[in-house]
Subunit: 249 residues, 2 copies
């Protein structure tokens, strides 16, 4: 069998394109990622399960983490519980003091929270990990934000920030379990600027078991955010805490 | 750290739900799948790269496959090239003679093709594997069908068929390469009826390396279909033929 007489299939088309391009400098090694160990990481919505879990894993890996919440005292209490040098602050101080800010607030408060932090987030690298989902008796389903995705809403509300999207598919149960040494999953990282995406990839790679993998532009964030609805079905059927690995990468 | 004082995170919530349900018969083993070796599998759009690749892999695994195309002679020529007992027919005959019909037509012809085969597909198990995508100079992007997804469009157009969705993320290059013995990927299978979903899972499991994993209802098909846009970015960056594995399953 050959496929030479057919148009290239959608999922392979892009792989072939470079072969047709004129010869130029060799492509940069996609695994040559920056050292991010000195970055201060803020986690907005850091008292929720996803934010706490991420803060815990990053701090345990040696990253300086500031956990943000609407109420500074709740953030400080959660930070103290996490240990590993995590500090707590209100969301505004968290954003101001951090180089990279993970957005882990509930979808319901996503737009308002970010709009209120536009000044503090100016110039920052923002990592949106919010999954807009609805729930009814048939389970979870995707909500499509007017802007296309939570990440694109963030980009629209934060024109002076550098917005990326990542960390959507992590099990908060696994993140929070101190007995779990490695989190067996890839982290799909989306964004417009390669340097920003690579910084977030490198951050994901600091957590044992995780790889940060570039997975497209923000306009393709909706399906990555929504895939959590499918993982919830998987978790229920297989009694699992499912993650996602990309093969052949 | 404990998460006992927090609401369960979205991606874990469903895992916990059964614990609260009253005691009842043990859940069915999700890997107890039916024997599908006797089913005749039709592939509509079987002369395109995805359809040909799937037809080849299924026939090579011992399944009886009928490859369908708008033009019967093109289908017969492609079938002969594939070998392994594959037959070719026009789409209507392919649908009529098959127990299970894989829809691998281009998105552009999806609605018209299915509408024209409503009678032939009545009562059949239909497996939609179409990815509605657009392409521009920035790459691939998701198209959102009015019905929500290609699979939901199929369900709307084929009220007498049993519509499922699967086989979205396969590399046609790998499928077609006779040197490739195993395809290292999971196949997310979506549908409304467990028996139908399990039949499709079992079909995926016939191809060495593949697992068919239940991944939700049809209303959550859009993100699975669209994820191919992200895989195209992955393929380009990493010079890969990326697939998807679900971890902890």
């Amino acid at each position: 069998m050959t496929s030479s007489d057919s148009a290239p299939p959608a999922s392979d088309a892009a792989t072939k394109a470079p072969a047709k391009a004129p010869a130029k400098a060799p492509a940069k090694d996609p695994w040559d990622l920056p050292d991010v160990s000195g970055l201060v990481v803020g986690v907005l919505g850091g008292t929720g399960p996803q934010g706490r879990g991420l803060a815990y894993r990053l701090a345990r890996a040696g990253q300086k983490v500031i956990l943000g919440s609407r109420a500074a005292d709740r953030a400080r209490a959660a930070a103290e519980e996490l240990g590993h040098g995590v500090e707590g602050a209100d969301n505004a101080e968290c954003a101001r003091r951090s180089d990279l800010v993970i957005v882990a607030v509930p979808w319901e408060g996503h737009g308002d929270t970010l709009a209120s932090l536009r000044g503090e987030l100016a110039g920052k690298l923002v990592v949106d990990c919010v999954n807009p989902l609805g729930f009814d008796k048939k389970g979870a389903y995707a909500i499509r934000p007017e802007e296309g995705s939570a990440a694109e809403q963030a980009a629209a509300l934060l024109p002076e920030a550098r917005v990326t999207a990542a960390f959507h598919h992590l099990s908060a149960v696994l993140l929070a379990d101190p007995e779990v040494e490695e989190i067996d999953t890839d982290v799909m990282v989306l964004g417009e600027e390669r340097a920003d995406v690579e910084t977030v990839q490198a951050l994901a790679c600091r957590i044992p078991g995780m790889r940060g993998v570039f997975a497209g532009r923000l306009r393709n964030a909706h399906q990555v955010e929504s895939l959590v609805a499918n993982l919830i079905s998987v978790n229920r059927r297989y009694k699992a805490h499912a993650g996602v690995r990309l093969t052949d990468v």
